[in-house]
Symmetry: C2
Subunit: 388 residues, 2 copies
């Protein structure tokens, strides 16, 4: 019977990651009325440095208010612990008297948990609870945080579609996503008609070719008189290098201390604007960088997403009794259920858009992808077709 739970949040915040914390605290309180639940501030960094708050002291109302608020209430971190760091984390957990550690995050977080589970030799039960707007965790049908971010994207592209029917032109929306195109594909979730916006979708899973891109837009303009494009920040050229790297002149590229290119949506937007100006001169074109706007947007917190994130937290505490592991949201054919999978099955792995989600010949998603998105995110708003 665990006496002390430690909960932490890692990686980029989402609209519903606090629901998972609330679910875990409420379930721990129910199962183990005497147990303490500590929240580590700024993820494993707070565990290492001994910075905790006592979540089990919060009232149910306080927990519900926290759950309904986007972003990570405990703070987050992007630290990727090495061996020494992991030792320090384990020391921090022992010092806090933790029997169980619930770490909410993506595949890096699962990786950290996998290392800690092994290093602790079973003294501390390690549970990974899923979270990422990128929807790129293997073993999961979808991840908490994705549906809310996808709702922002779907609504934005529906709105841009209506806007560009009124004042035709070319629109390109640059959407977060370095390796997986799920969020960009979500731009099609609320399409008004089969050939509605976004007319073209470019994701990291398919090589981007400039001449193909321009030809796609030309064809769409001829068909529709307007062209709306959804593009991932992480689209890569035929040589596998990021498009930004391929298109932006070297002296314009910003690099971090390790010499890695800082892949900024603005760099890509700028490159795309120049492509359009050069190859389609005189055409009205606008490129926007969505950036962080979809991530934890308070205007698009999705109810299903919130409920599933809460349930993932509840299940994470149940999982402590079963020796820990990674909580996975899987689709049973009728509904989404939490299942426990080994940490090693998720750690460090990236899930990509399945092949049958992407049209083989067109820069567009398939019916299989549309069905998947329709299941997660049915359209919320009735829309009257414009007269133009």
């Amino acid at each position: 019977m665990p006496e002390t739970f430690v909960i932490a949040q890692g990686g980029g915040p989402t609209a519903v990651i606090n629901q998972t914390v609330a679910g875990a605290v409420m379930e721990a309180r129910k199962r183990y009325p005497k147990a303490r639940v500590l929240g580590a501030l700024h993820g494993v960094r707070g565990v290492r440095d001994g910075r905790f708050i006592t979540l089990s002291d919060l009232s149910e109302n306080e927990l519900r208010a926290m759950a309904a608020t986007p972003s990570a209430a405990l703070g987050s971190t992007r630290d990727k612990p090495d061996e020494a760091y992991c030792d320090a984390i384990l020391k921090g957990l022992s010092k806090a008297g933790a029997d169980a550690f619930v770490y909410i995050g993506g595949n890096d977080t699962a990786g950290t948990q996998s290392i800690l589970a092994e290093a602790s030799g079973g003294r501390i039960t390690c549970i990974h609870a899923p979270k990422t707007i990128d929807n790129d965790l293997v073993e999961n049908d979808h991840t908490p945080g994705f549906i809310s971010a996808a709702e922002f994207i779907a609504g934005a592209f529906l709105s841009v579609d209506l806007d560009f029917r009124a004042l035709p032109g070319i629109y390109v929306g640059i959407v977060m996503g370095r390796h997986a195109g799920f969020l960009t594909a979500a731009a099609t979730a609320w399409q008004l008609e089969d050939d509605g916006a976004p007319h073209l979708v470019y994701v990291p899973e398919r090589p981007f070719d400039r001449s193909r891109f321009i030809a796609d837009i030309r064809a769409t303009l001829e068909r529709q008189g307007r062209c709306v494009v959804a593009m991932s920040e992480g689209v890569t050229g035929p040589d596998g290098r990021s498009l930004v790297e391929t298109l932006v002149s070297p002296e314009m590229l910003e690099r971090d201390q390790h010499g890695n290119i800082r892949l900024s949506g603005t760099d890509l937007a700028r490159a795309v604007e120049r492509m359009l100006a050069e190859d389609l001169p005189g055409r009205r074109a606008r490129v926007d960088t969505f950036g962080y706007l979809p991530r934890g947007n308070i205007a698009t917190v999705n109810e299903t997403d919130a409920r599933e994130a809460f349930e993932a937290g509840v299940f994470a505490v149940e999982a402590a009794e079963r020796g820990g592991g990674s909580v996975a949201l899987q689709f049973g054919g009728s509904r989404t259920e939490c299942r426990l999978v080994p940490l090693s099955a998720v750690a460090g792995k990236t899930r990509h858009l399945p092949d049958d989600f992407l049209h083989p010949d067109e820069s567009q998603v398939t019916g299989v992808c549309r069905d998947y998105l329709a299941r997660l995110l049915p359209r919320k708003f009735p829309v009257a077709k414009p007269f133009v």
Copy 2:
């Protein structure tokens, strides 16, 4: 007793411009059961080319569905008619048998109406109904379309605030607005606390100075450990030239056929990213271009905005009996009311942020501005303060 109304929509679409059309059609139907109401497709261009649909044939349900849908259902135009164009418009109106012409748009639209009213010698009653997310119409307390766009901005900056408490850094959101900073100022509407995000606000009404900008950010980082900035696309340097023009190297600037600089949010975002990289090296920084996202976003259609836009359409039809003019939303001390003002009072004029809306010493808005925003846009979402 008018027999034929013509309605058109001009300039950039908004979330509620269709409410104004619906209000006008329903009021015309009520007052003049026999009257026809025609909708011109793509503004005065449709009038000139004789492209109309019969709005009075639509059922109340069809009108309400159209009203609830963002963007301009009739299509819009950015044409600025010269004398010959205006003659063609008047011919088009006469051909359609119009006694009254309701044109929904901004100050350019009011300008067109003012020319048409004079040229038609009173044969056709010209009414301008207000619409602009920029909130830059004189004689108006605020304009239909602004509150919904402001709601998007307010929610976005509140969400970014929460995000950057979890993972501190520098964030700059570039907001539409070439000459007026109302929309950018709206970033402060839902601030969590006095010194909450956006910590800094830069608008076209105040000259932008790079060293001041960097000093502002440094001071905020020292105070808060993070810094969130709201910046207008149209910020200008001390010399009055647009910041983009001042900062971007000439060969990088895109110009249209007339040699005018294409002021793109991306150009500014790129310039700001480079400033931060050069003057605050190693700091985590992100710059996003909101662009069209706030304009007619289906996720942030504001109820007050929708109602006022509808009432502006109703009032526009009433105004036909009074010889036409420009419909203005004015604040009576307790509520917003539609009043009729001369077209010449609004035509071609730009309303700027009042001096007392902007702090004299800090890059921030004043309490007067906060009170104004709180009156238009009370916070919608309860938020629990994060633990970090």
